[in-house]
Symmetry: C2
DNA sequence: GCTCCACGTGCTCATATGAGCGGAATGATG
DNA sequence: CATCATTCCGCTCATATGAGCACGTGGAGC
């Protein structure tokens, strides 16, 4: 279109050549106002693209769309680096920033585990908050308070906020329902579960439903278990509970053997912050977002775009 | 750096959120002026990138650098499309635009041939100029005034400017020097050569020194001839004359058998417009530009960047 | 052929913004 | 410790810019 060509010319003179709208008008024989209007149109039509290039930048446009489309309280989207990856770190950093800035500061914060959350914990600065009690939401691996396992991450978050930590001394999934019930009946465990369920904020991730799952890695499930779950429609797990694309539990029997807060709690929570990074998790991320499991989403640009595509 | 983080935040609020500098100042507890300065810095440091996305857009920044660095009269750089190619068309379009806008309109325009110039000819609108005489600069293939060969392109350019055309009725390269001299002695040919040498503007391209060369395709040279030339340092040809990286004739004997205007004419000309597109021609393009064969360069972004790299 | 609506255009005016300046702070140097 | 240079900051003021409005024009519908 002829008009478009003029827009391009005007935009070049304005942005590349630092001419004033007046000058451009004189040059192209257009009124000053026409030039201004062409410029706004050029921005609207996306001919002029203004981009903020920085690892810590955010994609506010995408955030707005996500909040709008999926009824979230907030969304944080960071740019995905070009070819390579540092995506996880960027997202973790952004999540840490969000937590640090979050007001009011929650008295208790429920956390799940996984590589992503570990990165978030590491990205939190010392003194990111003061006096926050951190509670584990689901059973994990290492019971050691120091080490790098599921517990370590909760400990790190708590330490850096000069707060307490309540660990859930239980495996993620048990082999028999009876054992699970016995564990939950245990006073310490029960107390932590109550505390967790009542947390003022939740911070969690999700896992994809494939062999790379942490459950397989830690021996709670076998690769064929996961395959079977996928066959039955599971797209991934949240707090150790495998759900399908609609957010429903895929295998109630398995679920009954899983120790941790129930998903309903996340849906009911004021603030449940979901952190996800990487292409493998698009499906489970979509489910978490569309089935209302989170109110705040922290993710990378690629995932954000995937979540905005027509279902 | 801490400062940088604030710059990013400010830029986001300003460009993505359409806040005024005042508002941002209030929000981040900075003076209005500080905000303004951060914004300019962000642009300088390239944190804020303003890009004009359009096939017909030009890269004025690169053009400036090229003019500066290589002492050109003008440069036209169009964006290279992402993965695919329409690069040739874009460059041709840009060259056509340049010709159309060029003032003063030359009375006679010397043209070479090749796929690129053919595209330029096609991109020229009817009536791009009036009364321009088009002269062929070097020997070509088809002697037919209508068809799509070397001559056709000159005819097209002339027709669309309601002008005349002077074709050079000669092969590009002859087998024996004597034949070449005989041809040049021919009255018609000699007249055209004089006219060509005295043209007020030149429009030409260059070919890379490889088997894809038009000389091989048309049987003036064999693939092994070209190989040999490359071995002796040739990077490509201009008006059928093979030159090395410094712009010197590689094989004087071959050159003596080549019919057409001499390269010195291009160097001496007021306006000699060099059009080049595509990655294969970076080397010959560099030579043309650095050895002063052209005063105006029309090319794509990728080539432009290559020409700006430290030798 | 007439009317009316919608749109594009050029204007006035309030506001946002960048240039330039003097003073304060900071840091290097003797 | 004194001095000087350099940088940074907040301000004044001129200027560039966008919102809103009135007008003209052209096209659709009656």
């Amino acid at each position: 279109m002829e008009e478009e060509l003029i827009m391009v010319r005007v935009a070049e003179l304005y942005y590349d050549e630092d001419k004033t709208q007046d000058e451009i008008g004189a040059l192209l024989k257009l009124s000053r106002w026409k030039v201004g209007r062409l410029l706004t149109q050029a921005r609207e039509r996306g001919i002029v693209r203004i981009e903020i290039v920085h690892p810590r930048a955010r994609r506010l446009g995408l955030e707005r769309q996500l909040v709008e489309r999926h009824g979230l309280t907030a969304a944080v989207v960071v740019p995905s680096p070009d070819g390579d990856d540092g995506t996880l770190e960027r997202v973790a950093q952004a999540a840490a920033d969000y937590l640090t800035a979050m007001r009011p500061v929650p008295r208790t914060l429920g956390v799940s585990w996984g590589r992503t959350l570990r990165a978030v914990a590491e990205a939190l600065p010392d003194g990111w908050a003061t006096g926050v009690t951190v509670v584990q939401l689901n059973g994990g691996v290492s019971l050691n308070r120091r080490s790098g396992g599921a517990a370590g991450l909760a400990v790190t978050i708590a330490q850096r906020a000069s707060g307490h930590v309540s660990l859930l001394p239980s495996p993620a999934i048990l082999e028999r329902v009876e054992t699970k019930q016995a564990i939950e009946a245990d006073r310490t465990v029960a107390a932590v579960l109550v505390e967790a369920a009542e947390a003022q904020a939740f911070l969690f991730t999700a896992g994809p439903c494939d062999a790379t799952s942490a459950h397989v890695e830690n021996g709670y499930l076998t690769a064929s278990d996961v395959e079977e779950l996928a066959r039955r429609g599971a797209v991934g797990d949240v707090l150790g509970r495998y759900i399908d694309a609609d957010g429903n539990i895929v295998d109630p029997q398995l679920d009954a053997r899983t120790v941790g807060v129930e998903l309903g709690r996340l849906r009911a929570a004021q603030r449940s912050i979901f952190v996800t990074a990487g292409d493998a998790k698009h499906d489970i991320a979509r489910t978490v977002v569309t089935s209302g499991l989170c109110s705040v989403l922290v993710t990378d640009e690629t995932t954000a775009r995937a979540l905005l595509e027509e279902r």
